[in-house]
Symmetry: C2
Subunit: 338 residues, 2 copies
């Protein structure tokens, strides 16, 4: 059994990562269709040793497509996903468009694969920072009961797409070269600088939080299937493609740090990555291009009962986006729901 | 009245900042002596329009010196500060050497200037990350009672000294130029990367925390004169000279976000710096070269009773080190304890 796969946003940072991973993982691709805006149509990208021309995305382009990976932005998904579903495809959506829609499963396959059965044509991939956080948080929560989590992120340029990565690179090159540079993506200097995530502010229930932070707070609850107390601070740092996160978790039940390490040693999609003797811990460069989320620096926080501090780093483009999407498709194939 | 001032570590990042600030603030300098290792002796640095030759630091070099600013590292302070005190000088020490010594006042002049009167020749300047955190934390604590604080830092290269700043710059230049680079200061890639602070690990009471984190936790309590529940995660990010910090504070008493803003509006050494409508907040570039610590992004954390999130950015070399040291000397002059 193999599938006709289409990628919406095929020339973007996540789209190209999906193409690469489909090959790397020997995903059963019968035919690959690369969809993008008119601007990119006609370009040729390589897959499985042959060049594939990029087609312009259109409402009537989904005939015969089994699986659509969507990563062209929320408004594009909102407009085109229904057409793909109508044409019989399953849409695995990397945008925020449908994540909180109660009809749409929001899935990290290591955590809640069972909800895939309930899909009605669209499955949502959580926000990258959410995925990277919940992979270690979920198994710890199951074992010790997470009462409250405080997270601060250190997010890479890739979260803003390929153009944001280019801007960080070009601005940094201009800074070390003493040249002028005109930013087009971010309002504030990014090279040798950082800034609170520029996602729009929420004005109502979560006054003062930005949308990226709210995603981490509400998506986690939907994925875990229960209320979760999470408060987030999201920050963009001048790093290319892996997000880091500092997690402080207060548990319901007592634990030892050794037990917590064992939980993470056994957790799918997670690797304990640290060299305690050398005082070296996971960095974005270590995580870049890798599938698992790297964790370490577990230590007891004595300011609260059952407190744990830990450090998490994950490739934003892989597990934070493209890999999670493909794992969803793989799981749906196994479950015969695609 | 004017003073003979000596700077130990005069050619370092903090030492040169002290020299600059002495001029900028019209500190009453009768004579400036620049002390450094044999390697730097003979160099000439400028102060108040004239060149001053750097002298080699020696035990017998403190004759006639009134004030010593020490920023040449903990082991240098440990060896030479007693000689300076014996010669009649007051030592204002920017290293960690004497900070937790019960005989030595640890001072942020906006917070605990009254302890300067108790000095016995040495006054300690807190760790840079500590100073930047406590400036907003203290007035909020006085007003609402801080029960527990969770902090994650985003620390600049300047915390590692001038050589660390050079290494970040040169490594980044090599990365954008596609050249090889051999690191000498940090064990892990710093350009376009970040890593948990490389201060040595603590093995006993605070197992798993590194010394930088423990400094934030214990120095704050000494400065406030009471036990404080603070847990810290310290991270070095590829930024030049200003530290950012994400603070989550749980207060004893109820407050409104507007009240918290008012407390910070009135707090000495702190400026509310944000453009909420434009979704732009303080960044390290905004804080660089500035005296006050910039704060903003105050928002209610609903995961706990009386929870507050905020964002703090301060110049590590100014308020985090050199400026705080000079302010201590200025206060001691006012108090006639120098």
């Amino acid at each position: 059994m193999s599938y006709t796969v289409a990628i919406m946003g095929a020339t973007g940072a996540v789209g190209t990562e999906i193409t690469e991973l489909l090959g790397e993982r020997n995903f059963p691709v019968k035919k690959l269709r690369l969809l993008a805006s008119a601007r990119s149509a006609g370009k040729t990208l390589e897959f499985a040793g042959e060049g594939i021309a990029v087609e312009e995305l259109a409402h009537d382009c989904f005939g015969g497509v089994d699986i659509v990976f969507a990563s062209a932005g929320g408004s594009v998904s909102r407009e085109f996903a229904p057409s793909a579903v109508k044409a019989g495809a399953v849409v695995i959506d990397n945008t925020s468009c449908f994540r909180m829609d109660p009809e749409v499963p929001l899935v990290v396959p290591e955590i809640n694969p069972e909800v895939l059965k309930n899909h009605k044509g669209i499955v949502a991939v959580p926000n990258c920072s959410t995925i990277i956080m919940v992979l270690p948080l979920f198994p710890l929560h199951r074992k010790f009961g997470a009462r409250r989590t405080v997270v601060s992120t250190y997010q890479a340029a890739s979260g803003g797409g390929a153009a944001a990565m280019r801007e960080l690179y070009e601005e940094t090159r201009a800074l070390v070269g003493g040249e002028d540079f005109k930013r087009e993506i971010f309002p504030q200097q990014y090279g040798f600088n950082l800034f609170p995530h520029n996602a729009p502010m929420k004005d109502t229930d979560s006054a003062g939080y930005n949308e990226e932070e709210v995603k981490m707070m509400v998506e986690s609850a939907k994925i875990f299937g229960e209320d979760m107390k999470i408060t987030a601070t999201c920050v963009r740092v001048p790093v290319m493609r892996a997000h880091s996160e500092s997690l402080n978790i207060e548990f319901e039940r007592p634990f030892t740090v050794e037990e917590a390490y064992r939980v993470l040693d056994d957790a799918p999609g997670v690797i304990v990555h640290e060299n305690r003797d050398a005082n070296e811990w996971a960095t974005p460069v270590d995580a870049s291009g890798k599938d698992p989320v790297l964790v370490g620096r577990l230590r007891r926080d004595k300011t609260v009962a059952n407190g744990l501090e830990l450090w998490v780093v994950g490739d934003q483009l892989r597990k934070g986006a493209a890999l999670n999407a493909i794992q969803i498709a793989e799981q749906m194939i196994v479950d015969h729901v695609i």
